[in-house]
């Protein structure tokens, strides 16, 4: 083979997935180019952020009690008076790790140098595997696991619509709903079975959370006003908690010792046996839209809708309800997630097409802003599903 033949052959070799890769890249590159031209606009957005921070400090004055107020305000103003001069990008998120983001059309993985649509998932609900290597997609009547390179690892078909997959923290189980029944499968798609303890003929609300730790216990919210703790390996109830009104979110602490059940007006923290540890009501004239228990189990991130309009994001302590920090006040706040190490809280700010990241330490709150989020994700409305893996997976 002479040089000319080799050049010709190399240039004619087909590149796998070339058209789709080029389309994805062109979207991203053109969005980055457009974003580069919006520096002025971005500056104005920072002004809005600064205003929000000031509002946040003002809001906190009513929440923090005692002599620590002055010091706290000073610290917060010093550190939170302006978001990072270098806005973070999708490729390098504050707090590290990667986010699984659903645009309703595609599932994207962003962070750690990656911004990629890994699966076309129109109308699907998605979940992330324990170490972020696979995305579970419930789409129509199928459940499949897709590797980050887009390869479908396995696929299972069902007679009814599949939804709400949740992957266990050890990666060995996926819970999901088929029609009105709760199912579980091994992480490799084998051993699919319905759980009797999941509640036959009870419509699942799509609220389920695996308990971190040994075993495979799942907290599930059913329409009959209960949260059930189910040992999925034995298909038995560990506990059943009557919560009354419909819950808006379930989340466990990182050690699996505490379960937060949030409804529109109530925050309740239970232990792993289903016994109530603490309960409190939503702040006056507000409704809880979303709540997350921090991995430490000591803090709760809250999204509230105010009766007079507007929304706010709040970070509050489980033990000291009055020591709350208003992080953000805006018209359209969305996603709420703690980083895996619990040091950062992400709040989506849809009006500004931004993700705001706040440190959760009691002092020296830092703020980072990632802008042009939708613009970088093929101009779609993004919803953050999970934040994964600041630690490498075990060997």
């Amino acid at each position: 083979m002479n040089d000319e033949r080799l050049v010709e052959a190399l240039r004619s070799l087909p590149t796998p997935d070339a058209a789709a890769a080029a389309r994805r890249a062109s979207d991203l590159v053109l969005a980055a180019h457009a974003g580069r031209l919006r520096t002025g606009r971005r500056r104005r957005r920072w002004v809005a952020t600064v205003l929000a921070s000031v509002i946040a400090v003002g809001g906190t004055l009513t929440a923090v009690q005692g002599a620590a107020v002055a010091r706290w305000v000073r610290d917060t103003l010093r550190s939170a008076g302006h978001p990072s001069a270098q806005p973070a990008g999708l490729a390098a998120l504050p707090g590290g790790g990667r986010l699984l983001v659903s645009t309703g059309r595609d599932a994207w993985v962003v962070g750690q140098g990656l911004t990629r649509a890994v699966a076309h998932t129109p109308g699907a609900s998605v979940a992330w595997s324990a170490f972020g290597n696979y995305v579970a997609c419930a789409c129509g009547q199928t459940l499949d696991a897709v590797a980050l390179n887009g390869r479908i690892a396995w696929i299972e078909h069902f007679a009814e619509p599949v939804r709400a997959p949740v992957w266990s923290p050890d990666g060995n189980r996926i819970a999901f709903a088929v029609g009105h029944e709760l199912y579980v499968t091994a992480g490799d798609g084998t051993g699919v079975r319905a759980l009797r303890a999941g509640g036959h003929s009870t419509a699942l609300l799509g609220l389920a959370a695996w308990r971190p730790g040994p075993g495979h216990e799942l907290a599930v919210h059913n329409l009959d006003g209960r949260v059930s703790l189910i040992d999925t390996d034995t298909d038995t109830y560990v506990a059943q908690i009557a919560i009354g009104p419909r819950a808006v979110s379930l989340s466990w602490s990182g050690n699996g010792h505490r379960l937060l059940v949030a409804s529109a007006q109530t925050l309740a923290v239970y232990n792993a046996a289903g016994h109530l540890i603490t309960e409190r009501r939503a702040p006056r004239a507000t409704t809880i839209r979303a709540a997350r228990l921090a991995p430490s189990g000591q803090q709760i991130g809250l999204l509230l809708t105010k009766a007079r309009g507007g929304q706010e994001a709040l970070l509050t302590s489980v033990a000291r309800p009055h020591a709350s920090r208003v992080l953000l006040v805006g018209g359209s706040l969305g996603d709420l997630l703690f980083s895996p190490d619990g040091r950062w809280l992400l709040v989506g700010w849809h009006e500004l097409d931004s993700w705001m990241f706040f440190t959760t330490a009691a002092r020296h709150t830092q703020i980072r802003q990632v802008t042009h989020v939708a613009a970088q994700l093929a101009h779609s409305e993004p919803a953050v599903i999970a934040w994964c893996c600041t630690q490498p997976p075990p060997a």
């Binding site: 083979m1 002479n2 040089d3 000319e4 033949r5 080799l6 050049v7 010709e8 052959a9 190399l10 240039r11 004619s12 070799l13 087909p14 590149t15 796998p16 997935d17 070339a18 058209a19 890769a21 080029a22 389309r23 994805r24 890249a25 062109s26 991203l28 590159v29 053109l30 980055a32 180019h33 457009a34 580069r36 031209l37 140098g113 990656l114 911004t115 990629r116 980050l148 390179n149 887009g150």
Partner: protein, 198 residues
């Protein structure tokens, strides 16, 4: 949407020897100036001209299409980030190619150290060439059978048209080493691809 088919580039693809640049220097300079002023069509034209080559080179070096996409994508994002500072008297292609080459080689070396086992393309490459397979398949197999340093030299020289000196800088080896790797790689390719492609 940006045209992605290599053939859609038509005349920008050189026939063979003395690989012709994807764009003339004058047109490239005009496009860069327009892109610096914010013209998305100009950037799109630059993307269309350079993406296929960058993506293909990254894929052939890494043999991992996901990594190749990321690497090529990052090169273009770096180009956009540096667009305002870019000296229009320089050519964009070699600059992009160098970024792609460095990152792809870093990736290939890191992967070789990690000794991954789930590496489909390389598994295929290790298989004996099927005499009935298409020439492009045989070339892919033969490229896959090269160790990554030799493969990189072939791709950088013959696909990206980098000079031995440029390749030596990227690989951090003497020019003589580049030449010897090239010679051995071509000898091995001739054996693997077989006489039908001579």
């Amino acid at each position: 949407m940006i045209a992605t088919d290599a053939h859609a580039l038509g005349a920008v693809h050189a026939p063979v020897r003395g690989v012709r640049p994807a764009l003339s220097a004058r047109r490239e300079s005009r496009l860069i100036r327009a892109a610096q002023r914010g013209d998305p069509a100009a950037l799109e034209a630059l993307f269309t001209a350079f993406w296929p080559q960058c993506h293909r080179a990254a894929w052939l070096i890494t043999r991992d299409h996901s990594a190749a996409e990321d690497i090529a994508q990052e090169a273009f994002l770096a180009a956009v980030a540096a667009l305002d500072r870019f000296d229009r008297t320089r050519r964009l292609g070699p600059w992009l190619h160098t970024i792609v080459a460095r990152r792809a080689i870093d990736y290939a070396r890191a992967r070789a150290v990690r000794r991954e086992v789930h590496d489909g393309p390389l598994d295929c490459a290790a298989a004996r060439p099927d005499p009935a397979s298409r020439p492009s398949d045989r070339l892919l197999d033969a490229l896959g059978a090269l160790d990554h340093d030799r493969r990189a030299v072939v791709i950088l020289r013959h696909l990206l048209d980098l000079s031995p000196r440029q390749i030596a800088e990227i690989l951090d080896v003497p020019v003589g080493t580049v030449n010897s790797r090239m010679r051995r790689a071509l000898d091995q390719l001739r054996v693997e691809v077989g006489p039908s492609d001579e």
